[in-house]
Assembly symmetry: C2
Amino acid sequence: MTDQEALAQAFTALADPTRREIFERVAARPRAVGELADGLPVSRPAVSQHLKVLRDAGLVSARADGTRRIYELDPQGLAGLRDYLDGFWNRSLRAFARAAEQHSHTRQENDR
Amino acid sequence: MTDQEALAQAFTALADPTRREIFERVAARPRAVGELADGLPVSRPAVSQHLKVLRDAGLVSARADGTRRIYELDPQGLAGLRDYLDGFWNRSLRAFARAAEQHSHTRQENDR
DNA sequence: GGCATTGGTAAGTCATAACTTACGGTAAGT
DNA sequence: ACTTACCGTAAGTTATGACTTACCAATGCC
């Protein structure tokens, strides 16, 4: 899989509001599918399908626990997105950064 | 516009390969619409429509120059995406930090 | 004024993606 | 062994979004 494809999958995965909500729930703490589906306005199979998209994008990973599947956040897909966005930020925006610093953006540069 | 909506627009904007290509061209250097469309496998109106999506997402901005419109990168949308992803990244570090150093700056997010 | 250049918008087509219900397969409880 | 719980996949429907051509407005040039 090329970088472009991986990137497209990751952006596509997080573009859908329901899927982003699922991703955020997984990120908050690892959970089984049924628990993830509880409270969401879609059916459990829909959640399974969303989880597959998130898995293929490298954003979450699953481990078996009996008949349950525990999903947790996968740093890999996240890192790809961060690197991609940071490229634009560092290469093209350093000049603008000061002017745009009304938005106090605190971040560690060495934390990856 | 809520943060959620803004985020959805930004992710959606970058999910499409053609649109991401246009975004990258704009980021490389400010350009007019016709110049952006040159070499792309889609029509110029399609490029205009893509640029509208990117503008609404706060990822690019336009200024008039005669009959031409010069598009350039807009840091605002990029910052929104970075901030969002950094929240999870820091969380991921907490969960997966075995070989990682300790980080003083952590962002608290509410569990849902 | 008349014409060319530039680019945004409208309308319609077509592919895809997000959902539903139905079903099957596997592990655990009794 | 039978039943229950959990979850992934199949098939079908529907909404959305990415594209096309046609058209129109604004600016610059002669």
